[in-house]
């Protein structure tokens, strides 16, 4: 029992570092499938955090939320994304508008920014600084991915990473919101991803490509 206690505590403190690693690797990836795998790893880390918090604070709600996260973000949504990539039959390339080295530089800069942004809040809120900085870094990196990657699938993935970051921020600061709200949020996310998948198909059918930078017919 003691070991599980220690392990749970360690999970939360070491997860920040692992998340930074996933963020930097996301910035450096050149293939969509690599990015989806990294998203799975990130969601798994967050799910582990949920379970650890649930164990340490003896909150059964956390186990339900954690299982939901595993089910939806680690299994269901990545599976949907994979089948989407298969059925769309487009190139595996991420269509980045920046080279990998520059993307990693910017991701590193975003991590630095998130640390500075979190400094004052972490002290006020009495939370560990590293996990909160990791959450903010995930949000910033998600935005960055949406902006710098020109493929429709990558925009969906950037959005999912953004939601991951917000969820983790909520987890670290408030140990999660009421259960009903969490379920609603997850449900919304699933519906959103489904709809975006439908639209990706429509884009492919109407435009014959998936490059969102070429969707510039409506301007001004």
């Amino acid at each position: 029992m003691g070991i599980i206690n220690i392990a749970a505590g360690r999970v939360i403190s070491s997860s920040a570092v692992l998340i930074f690693l996933t963020l930097l690797l996301l910035a450096a990836s050149k293939r969509v499938s690599t990015c989806i795998n990294l998203f799975v790893i990130q969601s798994a880390i967050i799910a582990a955090q949920v379970f650890a918090i649930g164990y340490l604070h003896r909150a059964t709600e956390a186990y339900i939320v954690g299982s939901l996260v595993v089910l939806i973000k680690v299994i269901a949504i990545p599976y949907a994304l994979y089948s989407l990539t298969r059925r769309l039959r487009t190139s595996r390339d991420v269509k980045a508008s920046l080279s990998p080295a520059r993307s990693v530089f910017i991701a590193a800069a975003l991590i630095f920014v998130s640390f500075s942004a979190v400094q004052s809040y972490a002290k006020d809120l009495h939370v560990a600084r590293d996990p909160l900085a990791a959450a903010v870094a995930i949000i910033l990196t998600g935005c960055f991915l949406m902006v710098s990657r020109n493929k429709a699938l990558m925009q969906i993935l950037g959005l999912l990473i953004l939601e991951n970051g917000i969820f983790m921020a909520a987890l670290i600061t408030t140990f999660g919101m009421p259960l009903v709200i969490e379920i609603g949020v997850v449900f919304d996310l699933v519906m959103g991803v489904l709809l975006m998948g439908v639209f990706t198909f429509r884009i492919r059918d109407t435009f014959d490509h998936l490059d969102v930078s070429k969707l510039r017919k409506l301007r001004g």
């Binding site: 360690r10 403190s13 570092v17 930074f20 080295a101 520059r102 590193a108």
Partner: protein, 312 residues
């Protein structure tokens, strides 16, 4: 204690060809081939030592001297690396910088020898090698410095001792970033995939191979041994800097044996990871290598910046 240090020094040197053999065998198994025996590199070295050196007519004394000198410098670098004991054969403040420059000088000698050979392959390989090494120098030194700053000491032995006292789960972001950067640099410096294919003989893809194309006999043996020694040394360095738990602090026989066993396990994990990585990525095109090293540079710079802002 000195006996252990000398023993680990000699072991590192002698086991270098074995490292190459194991890596090649693992890669072959991953590719569903049988692969050559893991002792094959020793057989190759023996064969080469028994043959004679053939020197191009336009070469000078440098051609035969540079492999031997390069090997000597690499052996000197090995003296600083901890293996089963938390200190290498030699240890003083700032020794990791000396290690980096010993390796750099060995590489420089190799370049000179390649240029001295007079063939166009030598020149081409030399220029590619210089590009890679110029770009990998900075991340290497910056990452090592970041770790040294975090450990508040500048000798490898004390860094390893400090890291041993930390808990594995409290690994700081600096270490993770430095580890990532150093992994990339090690891949580039030792000429593994995706930077350079160690088994290729196509001129389009050769880097290290191009430089040694003119060599034969004992000179080639020394070059190959030095190359394998560099890989062995860098893997041992990575293990010692980032996962040193299990290394013996004292000279008790029991501690040393446990330390050796733990090292073998860590070593196998590292080599397996290397083999998997090499089998799963394609070689980068030459103009993509600076980007690869640029990522390493970004990571190492971030590690240094973190040493300032984290103040741990």
């Amino acid at each position: 204690m000195p006996v252990v240090k000398v023993a680990q020094f000699v072991l590192l040197i002698l086991s270098a060809p074995l490292v190459r053999g194991i890596t090649a065998r693992l890669k072959a198994l991953l590719q569903r081939r049988r692969g050559a025996s893991i002792w094959r590199p020793y057989a190759d070295l023996l064969k080469l030592f028994r043959k004679e050196d053939i020197v191009p007519p336009s070469a000078s004394w440098l051609f035969r001297a540079s492999p031997r000198l390069g090997f000597a410098f690499t052996v000197a670098a090995v003296a600083f690396v901890p293996l089963v004991f938390s200190g290498g054969l030699l240890s003083f403040t700032g020794d990791f910088i000396v290690l980096v420059y010993l390796l750099a000088f060995a590489r420089f000698l190799l370049l000179l020898g390649a240029l001295d050979g007079g063939s166009s392959f030598g020149g081409m390989g030399a220029s590619r090698e210089v590009m890679i090494s110029v770009l990998s120098e900075a991340p290497l030194l910056i990452s090592l410095t970041a770790i040294a700053v975090t450990a508040k000491s500048a000798s490898l032995a004390s860094i390893v001792a400090w890291t041993q006292m930390q808990s594995f789960f409290d690994m700081s972001a600096i270490h993770m970033l430095a580890f990532a950067a150093l992994t990339l640099v090690v891949i580039a410096e030792t000429g593994r995939m995706p930077v350079d294919n160690p088994a290729t003989h196509l001129e389009l893809t050769m880097v290290h191979e191009a430089m040694v194309l003119e060599y034969s006999g004992p000179s080639l043996a020394f070059i190959e041994w030095a190359h394998a020694l560099k890989l062995n040394l860098m893997v041992a360095l990575l293990i010692a800097l980032f996962v040193p738990w299990g290394i013996a602090g004292g000279a008790g026989a029991g501690a040393v044996i446990i330390s050796a066993a733990v090292y073998v396990i860590k070593f196998f994990v590292a080599i397996a990871a290397l083999a998997v990585l090499e089998s799963s990525v394609a070689k980068l095109r030459m103009y993509a290598v600076p980007e690869f090293l640029g990522i390493a540079f970004a990571l190492s710079v971030l590690a240094i910046v973190f040493t300032v802002i984290l103040k741990r």
